[in-house]
Symmetry: C2
Subunit: 418 residues, 2 copies
């Protein structure tokens, strides 16, 4: 095949070119608004997009004119017989472009861009894509959780098979916990999915995670779940309970872990296999929402430099979650002020900064004194989940101790916690 | 053999008795000051002490009169030809008794009690035991670290093979990091050891961990190290760098993990095997101490409920460590106030609450804006280690950014952090 200048190939054409000693073959994509003038985007056969910097006059082999490949670059055709799935974009890496000139990452802004990045979604379902928020997840605040919960309820009650929420990974665990509590009746799957590497990178997990979310929504399951890569390869994704999942690595694709309980299932997105353990089936009837989020709650990392003054500052809020040391301890000298705070009506709950294992206030005198001071021990609940649960429990008008020490959506192991 | 009433057996006798359908055989120990009147203590053959509740008139089989077993209950004979090792007690479970009547745990108060709990220490070395502090480790404060560092320096310079610090597990990681920075020249091993279960419980790891610490001190190695059980069985103990170790489980014996770098070695305490990787050998010359600890440093757990007001409260201290989300992020709306705090001269350093992986401020705009605001990224350093290092660096009178971004004792991986 003959090499032609890049000026002679068109969007949709399959081309092959060599850059810096590496050969790339794929379909030429439209120039993205963030792409520099010297950057072209190729969709590789593995589904990933890649940005390649080319010099003026660069030639490429034209493998095939892009007639049949139009689907790859335009909005995919929708098959209305396929299961109807809502995909709600909230921002984050899963719905981001790399700005190839600087390496910066920008969120998608339209539903069309989601399908542009993942055209084969339409092979598996009848997707209804909407962009609810456009935030990297570090910018999520508690009222965003309520907004997402409202959107999910509305979507579920429109009769879809389930809802997928594309979300940044930084605070995905917090949002998953928040939806677990805010959604009271969840008759269908609500699947939160993200990616650790953006869609435009060859190492991206965005595409496979999204396909895994689709397969999970099509399965006979309900509840708030997170699906993310299980390992370093392109194999299975793990399914996590929304209240048990934590980001345990800054960058690896297998960063998300179920804490203090095993994953509740696995999805092989390419083989379309789903394996689930002990989850409720899909049900009829409407989804409902309960409670709100009180944002004025402190999460304190207990450490040898924590002072009475730090606790008193936190006591100006409506509640305090301590990530205590070990089995759930603080410096004994801080216990009297914690007792004062509890007596003033500010609930103080105890989790462990160890993350694994359970708070047990009966082993050491420190724990027993904390119980006497009125601290509410939260067993094996994650500190982040306890934070979110306390924010929510404070809006229910019910007994906080009772709410925090009762398992509601799998957040708390069955062992004794009080 | 004939069963005799317990009133007819003496401390040091080997006896066998059945209680609640279980049979126990061991050497009768002196009644402990915390033991109830109806509790006897037996030293089992595996080295563990166990407390057994007996009713009045209970009989036991007298297996052997305690002539040759005196060593088990009295202070062991010291062999001055064996390597001289300092054991500094600071409190914690490793040096605790169970109060059998209530299940509560009390710290030992005398050197003799340490040897009483672990008589076979003297088989392996010539121990010099001293009780420096008597604190459960949740009560440790930064000035305790300085006190321990001073004691360690004095002991090392008295010519011992090395120093063992018996320490509670809750804040062992913090103390290990503190000693790593405070001890400038460490020509011999300084080994911190603890236990997750107290010495009097059959499941205790105290005895084997202590024997592992002794073998480690006898090895040709120097530096501040932590040695704790590797797994759930009675096999190997892992050796961790003092700046890399974190308690990752509230109660399991294998709770201690090297984070973002593998353990630096293993000890099989029963086989007396030590395997070490890449650590400096023992050296001649004195140990020296550098710097002090500034206690007024905040460690903030970044989360969706963190506010400007929380940051401003922390800014009243001398420095702030953020355990950011993901690659080291905070809500974008908080970045301006962080910039203000840095401009006021309060250093703000960034770590990740993921714990695994490294801060990278170049991937997302949030990270770049934090860099522009003057935040100091701390790579793959643990949040707790960054807290301790900042407390120490603030007392050096040197450039904080330079100190925090330069690896000194293995706390920082070699990847680019700024």
């Amino acid at each position: 095949m003959r090499a032609v200048p890049l000026t002679e190939v068109s969007v949709g054409d399959r081309i092959r070119l060599e850059v810096d000693g590496r050969e790339y073959e794929g379909i030429l994509m439209p120039r993205h608004r963030f792409g520099g003038k010297d950057i072209i985007t190729l969709k590789l056969d593995n589904g990933y997009n890649i940005g390649i910097r080319v010099i003026k006059g660069k030639k490429a082999v034209l493998v095939k004119r892009g007639v049949e490949d139009e689907r790859s670059v335009k909005a995919p055709k929708v098959d209305h017989k396929k299961p109807r799935i809502s995909i709600i974009g909230t921002g984050g890496t899963i719905a981001s472009f790399v700005e190839y000139t600087t390496g910066a990452v920008h969120p998608v802004e339209t539903a069309a861009e989601v399908l542009y990045l993942n055209p084969d979604i339409a092979d598996r379902c009848n997707p209804g894509v909407s962009i609810l928020l456009n935030k990297l997840s570090e910018d999520m605040v508690p009222k965003d959780w309520v907004k997402i919960a409202e959107a999910v309820t509305a979507e579920l009650n429109s009769g879809v098979e389930g809802v997928i929420i594309a979300h940044g990974t930084d605070t995905m665990g917090y949002t998953a916990a928040a939806l677990s509590f805010l959604l009271d009746r969840v008759p269908k799957p609500v699947v939160i999915v993200g990616s650790q590497r953006s869609s435009d990178r060859p190492s991206s997990d965005a595409h496979l995670n999204l396909l895994a979310a689709i397969e999970l929504v099509k399965a006979n399951v309900s509840g708030v779940l997170v699906v993310m890569h299980e390992g370093m390869d392109d194999g299975r994704c793990s399914v996590h309970l929304g209240t048990r999942v934590r980001k345990m690595h800054t960058s690896r694709r297998d960063a998300f872990r179920s804490m203090n309980s095993p994953p509740v299932g696995w999805v092989d997105p390419l083989r379309k296999c789903v394996e689930l353990k002990g989850l409720p089936e899909k049900q009829d009837g409407n989804a409902t929402r309960i409670g709100d989020m009180e944002p004025r709650v402190a999460l304190l990392y207990v450490n040898p430099a924590l002072t009475e003054d730090d606790l008193l500052h936190a006591a100006s809020k409506k509640g305090i979650v301590l990530a205590g040391t070990g089995l759930g301890h603080v410096n004994s000298e801080l216990i009297p002020v914690i007792g004062d705070i509890v007596r003033q009506g500010v609930p103080v709950v105890m989790t462990s900064q160890c993350l694994y294992g359970t708070v047990n206030s009966h082993v050491y005198s420190n724990g027993r004194k904390l119980l006497e001071a009125g601290v509410i021990p939260c067993g094996d609940m994650l500190p982040e989940t306890a934070l979110v649960k306390l924010m929510w429990a404070l809006t229910l008008g019910e007994d906080i101790r009772e709410s925090m020490t009762t398992d509601m959506v799998g957040e708390l192991g069955s062992r004794r916690v009080v």
